[in-house]
Structure formats: structure tokens, C-alpha cells
């Protein structure tokens, strides 16, 4: 019987808990950690179940090599030789940029750092990215441009200090339950709650105002809110004058969005816009919370900038209880970004295009000629593969055949790649394209750190022996590098990797496993004496002055029409996690949501002759899948909602591969669809 304090592997909230292993070393329970500052001895349903998938019999336990079309068991030596050999062959034949590396927001900071180091130092390509591209790429770009730092400005604890919380595009109680629960508590204690989301999510039931505007009309909605605030003189003039720039430009743009005009685009009433504007502007400590309802659009960066504009206009930045707070989805998506598993930056958002930065990393890594061109993103790499320009792909802990938009396009792209190596804990639909599969360990079988949405760097600790021959991702990456003759990736432990990260990454400069301890440390943490930073932009923005980034309305790429009259929006449910590999192997979670489903409004269902629990076909221009109908007024008329958890009916077969021009994030939240009863 052993208890190990660790960090939850599901969402970005960063709850701590204990994993309990029995005397045989098998995980048998999760227990609460009462001293943990975020969890406070509480968890959500996924957290309570987070031990279950670890010992599932489906776990990958030995390396696999594809021979004659079949994945067959192999030794680690054989598999690693093939991986190193084939990747080198692609590089030698087609050039380094014919390779792409998909890192993983599910793995540790140390592993993300090593993946980008492998891509850059060993293979000399910046083609490294991960699933942040699919969730918060818009945030990283939008907040970096306006504030100078692309992360959540405040801390989870700030929720209970706010007196008005504006939640938009975040089903917080389902996707960040322990943050959602703090919102519920804040409301009980008198805080105002504005929910702008056309689904009737749980928070909507408790909201002072629930606005159900049409998907994809975020920019006119927020512009109209600012229009009201400015025209009624409700802005924080002192903040605007002393802390920001480009205000005149903002005024000019939002002047084009009077509530009466915007309301028509958003399909709401001008009164709703005015009510929201007045309530938020009246707050002493107004907080904006958002997630993928804002980011996953072809205008995702504009959406993020608009929210940043609203916060600056009302002076709600740089204080406890305020801020612009993107809730990061994965357990370590913040960390994977921080570590530079992105095509344009090294760890700590240091640009690859900056010669001085490259020189610094060349010196630290003992290499020369680090690439200066920005590399491919996850989404553009798939597009390039479809064009025949990517010949080798290394996928660590991602499942593009479920998670990326327009799966037929992904299928075509992956099918054209000469060599694919997949490193994961279970086989998944992407394995169909893998030439080598390397069995990795789960979060419960290794040490390392995750960085939560509030920039809290926390440890995960080995609670059980790795199953079979599985090995930690960091060990595998180091072995690949060694086989390619690179001597700069030899470490005794993840703690040593963190020491290297701290030495080259200013915002992590003061981090070490010792300092991170039991409760974590929030970046920026510049040196060993720095206490960490719960609230960003206090007194001064990271970029100096806050930059208003006004945006005009651009409609979504594919709106409903005669052939496809419904608007399809995709997302997640409470009980499953992303592509389902872990939660569908956890009994109670799997039992709770057994079937792929589509939420459809009763009026739409009636028109189509569909009853609750009927099987239906949902089709878009890209494909068709069979799912169960859930007839509910959670969605508005004309809009349907699906989750992307189900392998047997993958929603991303339907989604559109239309990208934000800056962030390259796909438009998962809007495309045109139709529904018919399954015969």
C-alpha cells in the first residue's frame, strides 16, 4: 500500500491528489489531497477515476514494428534502430523540413522540452507543434499581441475574489469542474454571473444574464458591449489613459457596432447587449473566463483580442479577482507551449527567428545551425503531408485521426507519409498509419512536471511500476537522440532536465523540483529567490502598455445553407476526455456516456421526425456518421452539438479544415450540417 501525491492527468485546472497503489503495486484508488491549494481536498468525477485506465489490459506493453502490413512485437533495440534510422533517412533524402514532430500536452514539461530539442538540435527543423494548435493557439497569439503574454492572467483562487464573472465559450463545470465549482461558490457569495454561450450549460442556470447568441458572432457581440460602455461613459478612463495604447483605433472600430446592428448579426436583443455591458462595467473586480468557444474559430485570434480589449477598457487587468482567463484544456497544454513545443519559439516563448536566441540555444545545446525559419503547425503539417511534402512524422501522445478536423483529409495526409512513429499508451485510430509503435508510460508511472492553466508548475510522481516494457517518454526521446549520435540528451532524471530548462528559459529561471515541492510554483519565476507570480500585468503589462487590438466581424467559413441547414458545433462532455482513450477505459465514466450522440433542439427534431434516443445520421460536406439523437433545449434551434470522443463515430469526420489565418486553429465550432433518421 503506497500513496503518491501527484497531479491530475485530465484538464488544465491542475488538481493534486493521491494515487493509492496496493501491495502488488497496482493502482486501486484516488484519495483527496486536503493541503493542495487548487484541489483543496476536492475533485471532479474524472479525477476520482484517474487511476483506472493505468492498468487496463489494452495498455501497450511492447514495441511494435509494422511488417507486411501488420504491427508485430519487437525489441526496444530493434524498434529504436528503425525509428532513428528511418527518420535520419528521410532527413538525408528530403531535408530536415520533410520531418514533423507532434509533441503532447498530455506529457510532462521535461518531455515536451526534449521533443522540441530533438526536433531542433538533432534534426534541425522547427516543424514541432502539439494540440495547443487545436485548442488555444488563438489565445497564445491574441494575448501575446495585446498584453505581451499568452497565458491566463490570474489565478484559480481569483474566481472567489471577483464580483462579476463573465464566462463565454467555456462549459466550466464540465471542462474545468474545480474552477466551475468556484464560480458557483462565488455566485452563492453574491458575485454576478454573465454566461454568454448558446448552450444552456449548468452555469447558465445560475447566471444573472444568459445570452444565447449565434455561434461565430463573438466579435460583433463583444464590440457592441464595448460600444455601449464607451457611449455611456462606463469605461475606466484612468486605466485606458495610463496603461494602454491604440484606444482611438478601438473607438473607431467599435463605433461600427451599435447594439441594434450587432444584435441582428448575433440574433439576440440589443437589451441583452446593454445589460451585459452595464453589469460588467459596474464591477469592481470583473473577471473574464473563456475557453474553446472563443478560440476554435477562423476568427479565434480576433475573439481573444476582443475580450482583451473589453478587460482593458474596464480596467480589469492586473488585480486580484479580475483578468482575462483562458482555461487551458489539457493537463499540460500550458507547459507544452511554455516548453516551446511550437514551431516559432523555444522554451519561454523565445523566438526562433531571433539570431541572439538561436545563438544562446546553440551554445547551451552544443550544436550549430539551428533553423531560423518558423516551422509547420500541426494543422499545416497535415496539409503539407497531403501535398506530399512531409515524409516522416513522429507522434508522441496525440491522436490526429480523432482530434484533427476533416478526418478524411487527415487520412489522406497520413497515408502519404513514408514513415510514421507513434509513441503512446494505447493503440488508437492513428496507429493504422504507424510504422513503429513505442509503448510509453502513463502519468502515474513516471516523474516530471505539468504546468496548469494558472501557470502553476507542479510535479507528477511515479506511483506504480510501468506496465510491461513501457518506458517514460523522456527516456525514449533521449534514446532516439543518442542513436542519432547526439550527446546532449543524456539525463539521470527529469529533475536534471528541469534544471536545464531553468537555465535557458527566463520565465522558468527559478524552477527546480525541490522548489516546486508539494504545491507548485507559478511562472514567471525568474530566479531561485523569486516567489512566483499569481497575477500577471500588475502595474505594467508584459509588453509595457496594453495594446488594444480592435477587430471587425468576419463570418465563419461555412454557415448553414439550403443543403446543410443546421449549424454544427463540436466540443466535449463532462465524462470523457478528448479522444476517449483513457476515459472510455474507466468503468463509470464509460458507463455514463456509452454512445456517440448529437444534441438537437426539440423543434428541429420534430421537423425531422426524430425522437430522443433515435439513431440518426449527421452529415456535412466532408462525411457522415451515425449517432444517437439527444433531443434537448440545451442547444438553440438551428444549432446541433456533438462531442469528438467516440472512435465509432468520430465527429471530426464532419468538421471543416478552415484555419484562423494567424493561429492556424481549426474552426471546430461552426460548420454546416444536416441530420436524418437512420433507417
Amino acid at each position: 500500500m503506497k500513496r503518491t501525491l501527484t497531479t491530475c492527468p485530465y484538464c488544465g485546472t491542475g488538481c493534486g491528489f493521491y494515487l493509492v497503489a496496493d501491495d502488488a503495486g497496482k493502482l486501486v484508488a484516488v484519495e483527496p489531497a486536503t493541503g493542495h491549494p487548487v484541489a483543496r481536498g476536492q475533485l471532479c468525477v474524472k479525477g476520482w477515476s484517474a487511476f483506472e485506465f493505468v492498468n487496463h489490459p489494452d495498455r501497450l506493453t511492447v514495441p511494435l514494428i509494422r511488417r507486411n502490413g501488420k504491427l508485430e512485437e519487437a525489441s526496444w533495440d530493434e524498434a529504436l534502430d528503425v525509428v532513428a534510422g528511418r527518420l535520419a533517412e528521410v532527413r538525408d533524402k528530403h531535408g530536415a523540413d520533410a520531418l514533423a514532430f507532434f509533441s503532447s500536452a498530455k506529457t510532462t514539461n521535461e518531455e515536451n522540452y526534449l521533443m522540441m530539442k530533438l526536433a531542433r538540435a538533432v534534426f534541425k527543423t522547427n516543424n514541432v507543434d502539439h494540440c495547443a494548435r487545436l485548442c488555444h493557439a488563438s489565445t497564445v497569439a491574441g494575448l501575446a499581441a495585446t498584453f505581451g503574454s499568452g497565458a491566463m492572467t490570474n489565478s484559480v483562487s481569483c474566481v472567489e475574489a471577483s464580483d462579476c464573472i463573465f464566462v463565454t465559450g467555456s462549459n466550466t463545470t464540465e471542462q474545468h469542474p474545480l474552477i466551475g465549482s468556484r464560480i458557483i461558490k462565488a455566485v452563492r457569495n453574491g458575485a454576478k454571473l454573465i454566461v454568454a454561450d448558446n448552450r444552456r450549460i449548468r452555469l447558465a442556470r445560475l447566471a444573472d444574464i444568459h445570452v444565447r447568441w449565434l455561434n461565430g458572432t463573438d466579435v460583433p457581440f463583444v464590440n457592441a458591449i464595448m460600444n455601449v460602455i464607451i457611449s455611456e461613459g462606463l469605461e475606466d478612463r484612468e486605466f485606458v489613459e495610463t496603461r494602454t495604447e491604440n484606444y482611438e483605433e478601438l473607438k473607431k472600430v467599435v463605433a461600427k457596432y451599435p447594439p441594434e446592428e450587432a444584435a441582428k448579426i448575433c440574433r439576440i436583443t440589443p437589451k441583452e447587449i446593454r445589460d451585459v455591458a452595464r453589469m460588467f462595467a459596474a464591477a469592481e473586480r470583473g473577471m473574464i473566463i473563456y475557453s474553446m468557444g472563443i478560440t476554435q474559430h477562423t476568427h479565434g485570434v480576433d475573439n481573444v483580442k476582443s475580450l482583451a480589449n473589453l478587460a482593458m477598457l474596464t480596467g480589469n487587468i492586473g488585480r486580484v479577482g479580475t483578468g482575462v482567463n483562458p482555461l487551458r484544456g489539457q493537463n499540460n497544454v500550458q507547459g507544452a507551449c511554455d516548453m516551446g513545443a511550437l514551431p516559432d519559439v523555444y522554451s519561454g516563448y523565445q523566438k526562433v527567428t531571433d539570431a541572439a536566441i538561436r545563438a544562446k540555444f546553440e551554445k547551451a545545446w552544443h550544436v550549430t545551425h539551428l533553423p531560423a525559419e518558423v516551422g509547420h503547425t500541426v494543422t499545416t503539417a497535415i496539409n503539407a503531408a497531403a501535398e506530399g511534402d512531409i515524409h516522416g512524422l513522429y507522434i508522441m501522445g496525440e491522436n490526429p485521426m480523432m482530434s484533427d478536423p476533416d478526418l478524411n483529409h487527415v487520412r489522406e495526409a497520413l497515408g502519404k507519409i513514408d514513415f510514421v512513429v507513434q509513441q503512446d499508451i494505447f493503440l488508437n485510430p492513428t496507429s493504422e498509419f504507424a510504422d513503429v509503435v513505442l509503448p510509453a508510460t502513463t502519468y502515474a508511472e513516471k516523474d516530471g512536471t505539468f504546468t496548469s492553466t494558472e501557470r502553476r508548475v507542479q510535479q507528477i510522481r511515479k506511483a506504480a511500476r510501468p506496465v510491461g516494457q513501457s518506458r517514460a517518454d523522456w527516456e525514449i526521446l533521449c534514446d532516439v537522440a543518442a542513436r542519432l549520435g547526439y550527446d546532449g540528451m543524456r539525463y539521470g532524471s527529469p529533475s536534471e532536465v528541469m534544471d536545464e530548462i531553468a537555465s535557458v528559459t527566463p520565465i522558468y529561471g527559478g524552477m527546480s523540483f525541490e522548489r516546486i515541492g508539494a504545491v507548485g510554483l507559478q511562472w514567471p519565476c525568474l530566479d531561485r529567490d523569486h516567489p512566483g507570480t499569481p497575477v500577471l500585468h500588475v502595474g505594467k503589462f508584459s509588453r509595457g502598455k496594453g495594446l488594444f487590438g480592435p477587430a471587425d466581424y468576419r463570418p465563419s467559413a461555412e454557415m448553414p445553407d439550403e443543403d446543410y441547414p443546421l449549424l454544427l458545433s463540436t466540443g466535449r462532455c463532462y465524462f470523457h476526455w478528448h479522444t476517449g482513450t483513457m476515459t472510455r477505459r474507466s468503468r463509470l465514466l464509460d458507463r455514463e456516456e456509452r454512445f456517440p450522440y448529437v444534441e438537437i433542439h426539440p423543434a428541429d427534431a420534430k421537423k425531422l421526425g426524430i425522437r430522443d434516443r433515435d439513431w440518426v445520421f449527421v452529415a456535412t460536406r466532408r462525411g457522415e456518421i451515425r449517432v444517437m439523437a439527444r433531443v434537448t433545449d440545451v442547444v438553440i434551434e438551428g444549432v446541433i452539438f456533438m462531442t469528438f470522443h467516440f472512435e465509432e463515430a468520430p465527429a471530426n469526420l464532419l468538421t471543416i479544415n478552415a484555419l484562423d489565418p494567424v493561429a492556424k486553429i481549426p474552426e471546430y465550432k461552426v460548420c454546416a450540417a444536416r441530420v436524418r433518421r437512420a433507417p
Binding site: 500500500m1 493509492v20 484508488a29 483527496p32 464540465e174 465549482s181 449548468r202 508539494a518 458507463r591
Partner: protein, 328 residues
């Protein structure tokens, strides 16, 4: 009568490891008090109710109960050594008594009693609660009890096993006569407001005076984390399921939660408890009304865990308080 320091009890409990599978409260990395083996961390007898329910030593969260491989069928082996568990509160002992009844009536649950039979349970009470609180003295319903008189612990025994163990205790210091009596009086004088609250809520539920609208409003604040069930020492529901890997089928039983939609869903998909307010009501109604009819007792003994673990503040005490304020 003698009293023993925490260090003396620690030595004593460690000395029992050859005869018992000893579980005691120890302090874990973030300060949480957990039920571990004596060597797992600094001893932490003081502090009140443990965050996780101590009854889990007999009814674990996730238990492999049967393995089938080709022609071979293995059921759970008898425990190697009887379990000695220290760290129940008086309320936990009440809960244990209740689930002992629950698991022994009609169908005797052999998986539960495999661990429970022969076990020894020790309550910790007296002046060692959280933030100086006095912990109610059980005075029975366990084998022995460590009653804190401030610095040291008196040892009261209630069963043959308890007496046998206490006889092996070394050291200690004599205490003045009447100390135990004083402590008992202090225990008897503890406020009973929460008990009264629960009884009042129970009466309201039995008289059907709480409308659906109340539960609807409470359930709006429930995020279905299931924590209330998972920490409740009188929640006894479990799910049974199999996992197949190669030729091996393993059967598990795992704590279930009546807060989940799937708990009562029928094969057709129809669910008689399909609305969330019904599930919110069910948990509390069960403990304060249904069990009163069936077992002649409330089955909430105010251990306090669901109020601590609920992320949104709708543990049983909090809900009863609202209920009594509105309808009492």
C-alpha cells in the same frame, strides 16, 4: 489508569506488524492525514476525521474479486493477517456498525467480511480534533479507543481483542483518577446542533414536506463529481464489471455513485432517476428517510466528509441547513 504518548503508541502499533496488517493515520506529503502503514509517514493520530473514509480498508474503492484464465478460476484469497485499523472517529464507528449490519443481512457479503472478520478497530477521540476541537468519545462500537486528554492518550477497551492488545502496551504514565470521567462528561456536553438539524431534516423528508423545486435548485449546484458518495462511510453501492486481456478475465467491484445517470439507467435507456434533482434528492432521502424506515436509524452519522469534499458546498449538512431554514 495509564496514559500514553503518541510516540509510545507509535512504537506499540509498529510492534504489532507481525500479527496484524496495521493501518494508522500518517501525514502525507501535502499534510493530508491518510490511513497508511506505520512506516509510511509521521504518525498523525490527532486531527479528527481522515479525508478518505477509513471503512475503505474493508470495502475498497476498486477490488479485484475474481480471475478466470482458461479453466482456472481464482477467487479472492483470505487476508493473510487480520487488519488492525486505528483512526476511526466515534462517528466513523457508528458508520461501521451500520455497514456491518448492511453487509450481513440477507446476503452476507463474503468479500467485505473477508477483510472485516478478525479485524480490530480503534477509535481516536478526545482533545485531539482539528483546530483544538474535542472529538466525541465512542464508548463502544469498536475494539479499543485512544482518548486524548491533551498531551497523552488513555486507552479504553471494549472487546476481547481490544483488551488483549491493550495488555501488550508498555510504558505509559499513571493519570489521576477521574480523568476519564471528566473527558466523558466533556464528550457528553458536545453541542448536538447538527444531530438536531439532521433529525429535523429527516422529519421533513418523512412527512414529504420538501418539494421537487428545492431539489432542483440544489441540483443546479451539483457538478456530479460523486465525491459525496465516495467519501461516505455508509455508502455501500458498487458496480461489478469484467476486463478481458488475452485469455484472462478479471472481475472487479468498484464504488458506484447514485449521483451518476448510469446508476439507475435501464437497458432500454429509460431512466427512472433520469433527472438530476431526483439523484440529488435520492442520496439525502436515502440516508435520512428510506434508511430510517428500513433500519430504524438515520444512516448519516455526521462524519462531515461530504461537506468537506463537495466542491460547491452542498454536502448533507449544508443541504439540511437550507432545507430546515425553508421548510422547518
Amino acid at each position: 489508569m495509564k496514559a500514553y504518548t503518541s510516540a509510545e503508541l507509535d512504537v506499540f502499533l509498529k510492534s504489532l506488524a507481525s500479527d496484524y496488517d496495521v493501518r494508522v493515520p500518517v501525514e502525507a506529503d501535502d499534510g493530508t492525514r491518510v490511513l497508511g502503514r506505520p512506516d509510511d509517514g509521521p504518525p498523525a493520530l490527532a486531527g479528527g476525521a481522515l479525508a478518505a473514509k477509513p471503512t475503505a480498508v474493508f470495502f475498497p474503492h476498486f477490488d479485484e474479486v475474481l480471475t478466470h484464465d482458461r479453466d482456472r478460476l481464482d477467487v479472492q484469497k483470505p487476508v493473510e493477517k487480520p487488519i488492525l485499523v486505528v483512526g476511526f472517529t466515534a462517528q466513523d464507528a457508528d458508520c461501521l456498525e451500520f455497514i456491518d449490519r448492511f453487509y450481513s443481512e440477507n446476503f452476507r457479503d463474503d468479500i467485505y467480511f473477508n477483510k472485516r472478520d478478525g479485524s480490530v478497530v480503534a477509535v481516536v477521540s478526545g482533545r485531539c480534533g482539528k483546530d483544538g476541537a474535542f472529538l466525541k468519545i465512542a464508548g463502544g462500537k469498536c475494539d479499543l479507543e485512544f482518548i486524548c486528554e491533551g498531551e497523552r492518550f488513555l486507552v479504553a477497551t471494549y472487546s476481547k481483542a481490544g483488551k488483549g492488545l491493550a495488555a501488550k502496551l508498555n510504558g505509559g504514565e499513571a493519570v489521576a483518577q477521574g480523568v476519564l470521567e471528566t473527558l466523558r462528561k466533556e464528550s457528553d456536553a458536545l453541542p448536538t446542533d447538527d444531530d438536531e438539524l439532521l433529525r429535523c431534516a429527516s422529519k421533513l423528508l418523512l412527512a414529504d414536506k420538501v418539494p421537487d423545486a428545492f431539489w432542483d435548485a440544489i441540483s443546479d449546484r451539483c457538478i456530479a463529481c460523486t465525491g459525496c458518495n465516495l467519501v461516505c462511510p455508509t455508502c455501500t453501492c458498487f458496480e461489478v464489471f469484467d476486463r478481458t486481456g488475452g485469455t484472462t478475465v478479471r472481475r472487479y467491484r468498484e464504488w458506484d455513485s447514485c449521483q451518476l445517470e448510469g446508476f439507475m439507467r435501464e437497458a432500454s435507456g429509460h431512466n427512472p432517476m433520469g433527472k438530476q434533482f431526483q439523484r440529488t434528492r435520492r442520496r439525502i432521502h436515502h440516508k435520512l428517510a428510506a434508511d430510517v424506515t428500513r433500519w430504524d436509524t438515520l444512516s448519516c452519522f455526521l462524519c462531515g466528509r461530504c461537506d468537506d469534499v463537495c466542491p460547491t458546498g452542498i454536502g448533507i449538512k449544508a443541504v439540511c441547513r437550507e432545507m430546515v431554514e425553508k421548510y422547518g
